[in-house]
């Protein structure tokens, strides 16, 4: 692969400037200096997950069109339902042909790092210009000191709650610690407004809240050396807490998949759940009276004393089989730049939290104060393979719902917390074997 030198960058910059003048599109001052010259006759195919919010897709496509007008590089965008991107990306990596850019999930790039174009120059350039990447982005995007993927952000989760019911339960504001949270849930249950959190094999919501729970009590799947340490007193404490919390849940959460909590919340069945901004967005866009009563909070903090959240992390990968790696990089640079990223984030209603700190200033986070808790979700996030490295094992452990199943088993009383932790240990060791 051709390394981009400083000289290339200058040349590209000059080229763009000429283009800019010709096309009456002058790059604003302070725009990202790192840029790449697309190969002659380049055309790109991009595979991304299907939008959760219509505005996301509209603006993504509009930005892409702008890119094509500016550079002449044609870009074809395919979308797949979010859970189908992972297998497609894997097949593309395996057979060495497919879309030039795939926007995938979590630890995807760590499953085939040698099939991906090194994006270090691009990621560092963006990082320097835009306030730097959050630490969790480096965990996901970097491997052995090189960037193998470009974080796009995360479809983040917060606790979604009904303000009036919290007040009715005697709480002025949403509790920030796990003890207060349990008390709140118990009070809500007593008032006939139980909370509800997915405990079925729910890929998104189930994994997110159970990982938070495990981590906030100090439990974790593996230590820094990738040794399975899930069977620990901390885990057992987390599971005992889960058991108490589960007593306050609405019946049936053991069967819940990703969309159950949205439906239940919007029809006044539950008072708290964990979700993306989509519940609020749905209520607001349909002018439901409930929208006024919805608010959001970060996950409460437990004995570890710091935030330990997991969010649906997404990032772009450029594959080595692509004939136009520079065009691909230029496309990503363009889409990640302020002029494109900020309006896109706004159009997506804040559904995606930024990976770069400069975008904290995006007005989307303050235009409606109810959006604000989502702004800092990536700063509060840990990678799913915490605290080991990302790779085959971390991906498999999450896909096999080991944490979700462990919490569900202990919470529902199917087995004791100790037995649930021991079972999870046995299952995880199958993947973290040497």
């Amino acid at each position: 692969m051709k390394k981009v030198t400083r000289r290339d960058i200058m040349k590209a910059g000059a080229g763009l400037a000429v283009l800019g003048v010709a096309g009456d599109l002058v790059l604003p001052a302070g725009a990202v200096a790192t840029s790449f010259t697309p190969e002659k006759g380049a055309a790109l195919r991009v595979l991304r997950w299907k939008r959760f919010v219509q505005g996301d897709e509209d603006l993504w496509n509009a930005n892409t069109k702008k890119f094509t007008e500016l550079t002449g590089v044609k870009v074809k965008i395919d979308t797949e339902s979010w859970e189908d991107v992972r297998p497609k990306a894997a097949v593309a990596a395996n057979i060495g042909s497919g879309p030039d850019i795939i926007i995938g999930w979590y630890d995807d790039p760590h499953q085939y790092p040698d099939k991906l174009v090194d994006l270090t120059d691009l990621a560092e350039g963006l990082g320097n210009e835009l306030g730097g990447w959050y630490p969790v982005c480096e965990s996901y995007g970097k491997r052995d000191g090189r960037w193998i993927a470009l974080p796009l952000g995360a479809a983040a989760n917060c606790l979604v709650y009904r303000e009036s019911w919290i007040k009715e339960a005697g709480f002025d504001k949403f509790p920030a610690d796990t003890d207060g949270f349990l008390k709140l849930c118990q009070a809500l249950k007593k008032n006939g407004h139980p909370p509800g959190f997915a405990l079925g094999n729910a890929v998104g919501d189930g994994n997110m809240w159970t990982h938070w729970l495990l981590w906030t009590f100090g439990g974790k799947m593996v230590n820094d050396n990738n040794e399975v340490v899930i069977n620990s007193p901390e885990t057992v404490k987390a599971l005992e807490y889960a058991k108490e919390l589960y007593q306050t849940f609405i019946p049936g959460t053991a069967s819940w998949l990703d969309s159950h909590n949205n439906k239940a919340f919007l029809s006044d069945k539950i008072s708290i759940t964990n979700n993306g901004i989509s519940i609020y967005y749905a209520a607001k866009s349909k002018n439901m009276p409930i929208a006024k009563d919805i608010n959001h909070s970060p996950f409460p903090i437990g004995p570890v004393g710091r935030p330990t959240e997991l969010h649906l992390f997404t990032q772009a990968m450029v594959f080595k089989y692509s004939k136009y790696p520079n065009a691909a990089k230029e496309y990503l640079r363009f889409m990640w730049s302020k002029e494109q990223y900020e309006p896109w984030q706004q159009a997506a209603m804040g559904y995606i939290t930024q990976p770069l700190k400069a975008y904290e200033a995006n007005p989307i986070w303050t235009s409606d104060p109810k959006h604000t808790p989502y702004r800092d979700t990536l700063a509060r996030m840990l990678p799913n393979g915490y605290s080991g490295t990302l790779g085959y094992a971390s991906a498999a452990v999450m896909a096999d719902f080991i944490v979700v199943n462990m919490v569900a088993e202990a919470a529902t009383g199917a087995v004791s917390p100790k037995a649930a932790a021991a079972k999870a240990e046995k299952r995880a060791k199958r993947y973290y074997r040497v």
């Binding site: 049936g252 439906k263 096999d400």
Partner: protein, 314 residues
């Protein structure tokens, strides 16, 4: 002249083409080649590849190396795998048996002279025609823990005071997915058996009536023996479909709660694709083969032999 006699002595030369045309074995082999090629490409090769993958540690994005039976050794010690084996057997046995019973019953009813016969037959087929995913989504709503129409109705009628936890409790969930499968599978059994019933000559029933056989005796000694070959084929397919079911489970529960409804097929997918361990996923799929073979042999030969004993076949 001399030359002519000489040439007459030499036996006529048979070209390769002529020999080929007249040799039945060779020609037969040749005519079978296209079919063989199709079978090898689309059946044998994928199957062989699956078996091979099961013997490697292939993960998504990386070629695996041969590791012998290690995948199977790990699976053997995996409680979730054994749970899925148990679930698969429970699911297949219960669902297939009930599907057979209900299917046969429906077929017998439909074989009677009833008004609007064709219309009713068409309606019976509906569950089978609707795409599985659609019917699964319908059941998903029916079984919802908060919005279930069944729970709602029973509650309004005053039979229950709390919504039924259809998919959240392990035995409820198993029963629920089995019922959904039965609903979907009965039409296939019923219509196939109905076709079988209609091939039975009325003369046999007349003869039986003359011999003084009552309805039950007619069923036991005429209908059932004549129907056995069809039953064996239908049940073989029914067992196969049930054993390898995937979509229903995937939509309804994803294998939950706590893996209580994970079948071998869904577990294989979960481990291979989202989990990335193609080798292990393939091993689970391959582990289904012996069970499948046993099920087929049982329903096929087990039922066929009875047909021979009754003087059917040959």
């Amino acid at each position: 002249m001399a030359q002519q006699t000489q040439s007459a002595v030499v036996p006529p030369k048979i070209t390769f083409w002529e020999r080929f045309e007249n040799n039945r074995n060779l020609l037969g082999l040749f005519l079978m080649l296209p079919t063989a090629a199709l079978l090898v490409t689309f059946l044998a090769y994928p199957l062989g590849l699956g078996v091979w993958l099961g013997l490697t540690d292939t993960t998504i994005g990386r070629e695996g190396v041969f590791i012998g039976l290690e995948n199977y050794k790990w699976l053997f010690a995996d409680s979730v795998f054994w749970l899925s084996v148990f679930n698969t057997f429970l699911y297949t046995t219960v669902a297939s048996t009930i599907k057979f019973g209900l299917g046969l019953w429906l077929a017998l009813i439909l074989n009677q002279h009833i008004p609007f016969k064709s219309l009713i037959r068409a309606i019976i087929l509906l569950p089978w025609i609707v795409p599985t995913v659609l019917s699964a989504v319908a059941f998903w709503w029916i079984y919802d823990s908060q919005f279930s129409i069944i729970s709602w109705s029973l509650m309004k009628l005053g039979f229950i005071d709390q919504y039924i936890n259809f998919l959240g409790e392990k035995n409820n969930a198993r029963a629920a997915v089995i019922i959904a499968n039965i609903w979907r599978g009965v039409p296939f059994v019923a219509i196939s058996l109905l076709a079988g019933l209609q091939t039975i000559s009325p003369i046999l029933y007349e003869a039986a009536t003359l011999d003084g056989a009552n309805k039950w005796q007619q069923f036991r000694h005429v209908t059932l023996p004549m129907l056995t070959p069809i039953i064996s084929v239908v049940m073989t397919f029914s067992v196969l479909f049930t054993f390898t079911d995937f979509q229903l489970i995937y939509v309804l529960t994803r294998g939950g709660p706590i893996n209580a409804t994970h079948l071998m097929a869904t577990l294989s997918f979960q481990r291979a694709i989202p989990g990335g361990h193609l080798g292990e996923g393939a091993a689970i799929a391959v582990a289904m083969i012996p069970f499948l073979l046993a099920a087929i042999l049982f329903s096929y030969f087990g039922l066929q032999r009875r047909a021979w004993q009754q003087g059917g076949g040959h």
